[in-house]
Symmetry: C2
Subunit: 340 residues, 2 copies
DNA sequence: GACTGGCACTCGCTACAGTCGAGTGCCAGG
DNA sequence: CCTGGCACTCGACTGTAGCGAGTGCCAGTC
């Protein structure tokens, strides 16, 4: 049961070599490439133990060893040393993110940056509305029976939605409506909004009542229920790098999963403050992603978290490097948001 | 040189069978599956001619024939009969598009629908700003030195952008600014806007001049130059269907191309009124897409065109079916837009 | 008791030869 | 001009053999 230091070193060496070469690694190659200070035969014995414990396995009887999901897990938890970012990477991050004019812009740049640096699929969640508060609500008359509702959140997010009124409404009433909703809702968290929105209807004058009723429905629908969350994706072409060896031949399940917004949210949305989350192969709840690993974390101004971001790649990935990059990018983005 | 009717029938049969089975088709199988009324030997002679003319080719000396890009071209131009949509498809389209509350919603539903019906990668361009006119401009004060500019186009598109003012501006001035820009710009096509925006600065009072200058810069940048165009994509998982036989083994170049907004615009953006555009294999200007075909068309309310949409798939695709579907979806979306 | 060198063994990979059969091109006859 | 017949090609598949990386085990050494 107990794995002494050398066995752990062997496991680490196996993971590192396998990640680098993509080929099962044998005892001889291992002692040559790493200073283990023992002979291949000894390594073989260690390997036998590691295999018995389920950390590595042999694809074929006479092939080298390959880490299992469990092996990667142990590696990530106890064996990987933090890999500092290269100055080049640091510079890339800075260069990429300055000059963003927009939340949209920030998110797009971030997701591309992540994909490029990690050479994997990157996913960035827009600041969650539930975690934002209302900065301003605008009502723009489109016609006498149509309003465009525009909500601006403190995180920079802007959502709009068409409101179809039950009957024509004069311009003055629109002004009243605007004043009313802003008075009551500005500054509140969206997750706490529903009762307030409800109250709005009650407080409206008889004049405004019908319009306000419709408006409140739309508010609730758009801002709380419906596609409340948005997501940006980049780097899918990276999936096709590993020559089909990763992902056991077919990209289809992966690509399918990546098209489901819900799935992506599950992947990167559930984050606790300042934690890196690493899900390796089988640890993923989504069946289609059993052959992949996901590294994700939350981001936001200061210590608060407004959304998640991360990358997805083959289980055979450079975990220390990826983790370092994801963390660094999350920090930078958080800082960027804090400036607004 | 001249291809008589039977040779054309043979070509059609080859294309149809190959598309259906994905395997090179031989003379014997052809006469069995189609009522050509002649013997395999005759078909072989026809095939020899077709091959000489470059419409089909043999993967190996003793294999069946496969259509070339040129063969598909001829098929599309002269041999394919229009395939009417099945009632089920019609229903699917209607069901999918009713209940869309939003331009965003319409575009997303459309792209998913297209991907699902054609079982290929679908691309939908948002109504082009250059082809829209301004319905309303809104300025929302975020702080004393920051405005959120929101533009609503007649096509339903909403664009926003943060405006960083050179110095604080009182609330009244914002009202003036808003009135001014709306007076001058509402109703104009965005492609004709630049001189008008320029004029705005000249007409502004000394008070408003600095703010107006910044504002005009942002207007020009956001609405005319920068990511003026937006695009939605769906169905990439369909690329991985044909078991890697299509796209000669690697999806990488395709996925890479699909990540470039510019490339996608080139694909579906350049459309003339009510034309279906079919680009087959080599006909694509983009190198990465030499192994793919693209079927695209324009859409918009009535006869005007506000954007493009289409699908991308293997050259070995069901052209008649795909063309019919793309056309039908474009029409429905156009009608939907016309209702607003 | 832990490590090592040696050795027999396994088994995937590659190369090569042989067979099979789908499909062809060509030709002579209707 | 079409057709049946026939010889030919060549890819796909099968079976065999040799190679070599890698292993497990064991006896010997420190």
């Amino acid at each position: 049961m107990g794995l002494d230091d050398r066995k752990l070193a062997v496991l680490r060496a196996i993971v590192e070599d396998y990640v680098a070469t993509q080929e099962p690694v044998g005892s001889k190659a291992l002692v040559e490439r790493h200073q283990l200070g023992v002979s291949p035969a000894t390594v073989r014995n260690d390997m036998a133990v590691l295999e018995e414990e389920g950390y590595i396995r042999q694809p074929h009887t006479s092939a080298g060893r390959v880490p299992t999901d469990r092996g990667y897990r142990l590696f990530v938890d106890r064996l990987s040393r933090v890999k500092p970012l290269s100055p080049a990477e640091r510079r890339a991050i800075e260069r990429f993110l300055v000059g963003a004019v927009d939340l949209d812009d920030v998110v797009h740049r971030t997701v591309r940056l992540l994909a490029q640096l990690t050479r994997q699929v990157a996913v960035v969640q827009y600041p969650s509305l539930a975690r934002s508060s209302v900065r301003h609500l605008e009502l723009v008359p489109i016609s006498t029976t149509r309003l465009m509702l525009v909500m601006i959140a403190d995180t920079g997010r802007v959502e709009q939605r068409l409101v179809e009124l039950p009957r024509p409404i004069p311009a003055d009433d629109v002004t009243d409506l605007r004043r009313l909703v802003n008075e009551k809702l500005v500054g509140t968290r969206l997750s706490e909004t529903p009762p307030l929105v409800q109250a709005l209807v009650d407080e409206a004058t008889a004049e405004l009542r019908p319009a306000m009723t419709t408006l409140s429905t739309v508010l609730l629908e758009t801002l709380v229920e419906r596609h409340e969350e948005r997501i940006a994706l980049a780097g899918t072409a990276n999936l096709a790098r590993g020559g089909l060896l990763d992902f056991q031949g077919s990209l289809r399940p992966i690509l399918e999963a990546l098209e489901e917004e819900v799935v992506l949210l599950k992947l990167i949305g559930e984050v606790e403050p300042s934690t890196m989350r690493v899900r390796i192969g089988d640890e993923n709840e989504i069946d289609n992603l059993r052959a992949a690993s996901v590294v994700s974390t939350g981001y936001g101004p200061g210590a608060t978290i407004v959304g998640g971001l991360g990358v997805l790649g083959p289980t055979r990935m450079d975990y220390p490097g990826t983790i370092a990059t994801v963390r660094a990018v999350a920090r930078y983005v958080g800082d960027l948001l804090a400036q607004n």
